[in-house]
């Protein structure tokens, strides 16, 4: 069973959250899920764009108390 890893990238700005996600993505196995936390709205839009461009999968994206949660799955 794949685990879901939390990537806490709150309180920084684009492209900080994206770079933190990618650093964690490199360590992850195919099929693993990662959940990025970001307080930067630009990153909340940019991360799904990157995920689609490089061919991974966005599972969900929502905002809760000023924090965006983007859940992605490493597809390759």
């Amino acid at each position: 069973m794949s685990e879901r890893k939390l990537v806490d990238a709150k309180n920084t700005f684009c492209p900080g959250p994206l770079m933190e996600l990618i650093a964690n993505m490199k360590q992850a196995e195919v099929g693993d899920e990662l959940e990025v936390l970001s307080t930067d709205e630009g990153s909340a839009n940019d991360i799904p764009e990157w995920i689609n461009k490089v061919g991974h999968e966005v599972l969900e994206s929502f905002q809760n108390d000023g924090v965006w949660h983007i859940v992605v799955k490493k597809a390759k």
Partner: protein, 129 residues
């Protein structure tokens, strides 16, 4: 798909350094083949013993500092480590500043001449900061 992005970076101000670092890092992790050519006043910041903070050019630079935007040097390092970008110091600048490669950050490649950079940059996007 692998496109090519060549960046010439000569600026000394935070805003330009930040934008160049953003293009380099996001481009590199998105599958582009990124080359950065460093020269002029940008060189100083890539020395290992550099304690100089890049001064703001205007209000945005001050905001970048206040709001904890990612450090531009960290972004360049991530461009290299996560996206296989190459950052070359200009060979003229290295000579004129009397530097050796050991004086520069470990993620910086060997000095490159302008002729080679221009040949490499003749295909793909070219950005200057």
């Amino acid at each position: 798909m692998s496109d090519k992005i060549s960046i010439m970076l000569i600026a000394s101000k935070r805003e330009q350094l930040q934008m160049a670092a953003m293009v380099a890092s996001v481009g590199a992790v998105s599958g582009s083949d990124v080359t950065v050519f460093l020269s002029m006043n940008a060189m100083e910041y890539f020395k290992k013993d550099c304690n100089t903070k890049a001064p703001a050019d205007g209000p945005m630079g001050a905001l970048l500092e206040d709001k904890n935007a990612p450090d531009f040097k960290d972004l360049f390092q991530q461009a290299v480590e996560l996206g296989d970008a190459k950052i070359f110091p200009c060979s003229m600048a290295v000579d004129i500043m009397g530097l050796s490669q050991d004086d520069l950050e470990d993620y910086i490649s060997e000095p490159l001449g302008l002729t080679k950079f221009l040949t490499d940059a003749s295909e793909g996007q070219v950005w200057t900061f």
